[in-house]
Symmetry: none
Subunit: 432 residues, 2 copies
Amino acid sequence: MTTQVNILLTGNELMNGDVIDTNSVMFAQQLNDIGLTIRKKVTIADDLLLLQAEIVQLSQTAEVLIINGGLGPTIDDLTSQALAQACGVDLHLNPDAHLHLQKWAKRRNAKLNKPNLKQAYLPLGCEIVANETGSAVGFSIKLGQCLIICTPGVPSELTHMLKDEIIPNLQQLFPIPTKHSLVRFQTFGLGESTLQALVNDNLPDWPNEIEIGFRAAMPVLEIKLSAQCQKGKAILPQWQNKLRDLLGDHILSTGKTNHITIADYLVPLLMKSQQRITLAESCTGGLIASQITAIPGASAVFEAGFVTYSNDMKSKMIDVPAATLINHGAVSKETVLAMAKGALAKSNADYVIAVSGIAGPDGGTKDKPVGSVWIAWGNQQALHAKYYCIPVARQYFQQIVAARSLDLVRRKLINSQESPHYDQVSYNKFIK
Amino acid sequence: MTTQVNILLTGNELMNGDVIDTNSVMFAQQLNDIGLTIRKKVTIADDLLLLQAEIVQLSQTAEVLIINGGLGPTIDDLTSQALAQACGVDLHLNPDAHLHLQKWAKRRNAKLNKPNLKQAYLPLGCEIVANETGSAVGFSIKLGQCLIICTPGVPSELTHMLKDEIIPNLQQLFPIPTKHSLVRFQTFGLGESTLQALVNDNLPDWPNEIEIGFRAAMPVLEIKLSAQCQKGKAILPQWQNKLRDLLGDHILSTGKTNHITIADYLVPLLMKSQQRITLAESCTGGLIASQITAIPGASAVFEAGFVTYSNDMKSKMIDVPAATLINHGAVSKETVLAMAKGALAKSNADYVIAVSGIAGPDGGTKDKPVGSVWIAWGNQQALHAKYYCIPVARQYFQQIVAARSLDLVRRKLINSQESPHYDQVSYNKFIK
């Protein structure tokens, strides 16, 4: 029997449809990873009586109760008060929480106001859980046989607290009886159903003892192989190799990562080979540059990006000949190749990406519909260009163009001889 | 007292983190719109005993219980069975549901198989709810005083069923006694605790009849005022005005919006005044440009952005004098002003933002610690520059710098005479 966890989410914004609850997914994935099972999840508004009653009830049916939300400084944040009442203890000024708040305020050169200070009033007898990023500490207390842990509702704060504090602690408190074996691949360029079909077609005798799971975290798709029994564990390495051979360079990395963009995989490759990259962006409008510069140490591989949104600026900033624009249009092979050449010349970088397309919702034509994009990429020795048509909403279009562009350079850097799957699925009838 | 609704969501995929629950948002928004309140939401896995127990419990605390999921053809779809057991009735082949399935199969030129037929076995005495799109009908039944409605988990099927069947029915069964009044403000630049403190200090006699709620959706913070009773509704306009006066130009807009960045508020202002903006970005590395170009129609206000990450490229791309960089450093008032002037000259735009800072984690010095940033903004007539120190993790730093930069231009465009709150909280001891 695995350890059971109940989850209690609180917040008016969760009840009136103002926000989508993504914290639940975080809890589920991370608790499952350490072998804990979520038994029940309850969501209620910021209502003291309801909160108190739920805490009592949920603490009686699981070994762990995690409460999420209601730790903020405002009067509708009621978790501490409800928990104190459920446990039959008073709220008091917790010295550890107070110290945390003082440090937090000092870092921002601000004074603690009264609403802030409310966050240090916690149930007597609780232990605090560090919060590296926000003002509200987490805290834990026992009620009967149940360990209750209170966590902040702000997703970024929760992420840190789970990773650094709560998960390692729970892992120690509730070790998994028999550890299951786990292998993960991060992939890009194959959809979930395509992956499933590829496995069905090419590895039809996939063993029951190895479970395949998928976790989509656009643009990366994680594949998880897990084995519980002895036989499964024994054959896992050989099937892991078969799957790796099948997926080829669609695999970005093996093992667990928190990488969220393809730039996370490309920048280390550039660093390792001491190569710099530059960008000439039209339809992605700076998105590719921002994904590269989101990574610490990006200055080693990136000096300049050119966001050339208008035709005029394509010529002025990176010397795209006016004739090219007039004869072929801004969304053309000739233009992106000229953009790539110009950006390389102006920046002295080794690698380049140039993109020009129609992000929509307006601006499409019969020949070049919304979703059309030309991508040029390469280096001084060899520049390539490809057309894709990705007819999705503007922001997804920009994200996909950024991901594919970065992936094309990644493939060049690892000398991939494969054709990525997205080359097959995109229809090319509009290529001129 | 408004009508209370409980929601019960079922599905293993909701418990293991494989999907994000978006149906809840659909329920909440549509039920709120017709004046119903969601009291509690419970999510559990596909477990017969747990389901049955929850149905009984949730039916005792609300006038309506909506069950979502578990209507499918597979063995882990258990809603009908659990509901029948909870109501103490048998499952039988429901003729209406059977007819629906036969029509559904005929449309697809398919034969009903045994798993399909399972979907027509419903609790005795229930009424079916039409499903225009899928194979599973919904159904409703009374348990004690509670109306229980079972709905499909597939979002597209749920959408239709809610809109066409359930919402109109509930509206008729539970007419709104008196509609509550609601006012929303989108704000930027004030934290939740500061807002609460501002209200406490300046509007100490805030009436109980008007509820204040906050929703943080970084970087925007939404404030929601709601009044249920007659008195509250009568005085809402005057307190809304008082709050508006208090918050001044920290208010981005009034009413409900889905805007997620400050660019969403700035771009329409630029469009309206037919002004164009350009950017010279160092530490934000293209993020500001990408936020502007994420907005449809951005080409009307944006032609070019300069991502000048290295010193050398600041000089080459936008003519920052080498002497300025040598004498004052890249993170200095002189440099950002030169970047702003250069970008304006090269792009012929009307407005400009230039940023240079130390995003970290490395690169800080004693005089210019990680988190330091100079922002220049303005137009040909007047350029301004300000120093902030925002010592937070790299990606948050970049997001906050982008938001403040855009907000500073927004304030200039609306001729704001105020000093934004973030000018007070940031310490300026490092200003040279």
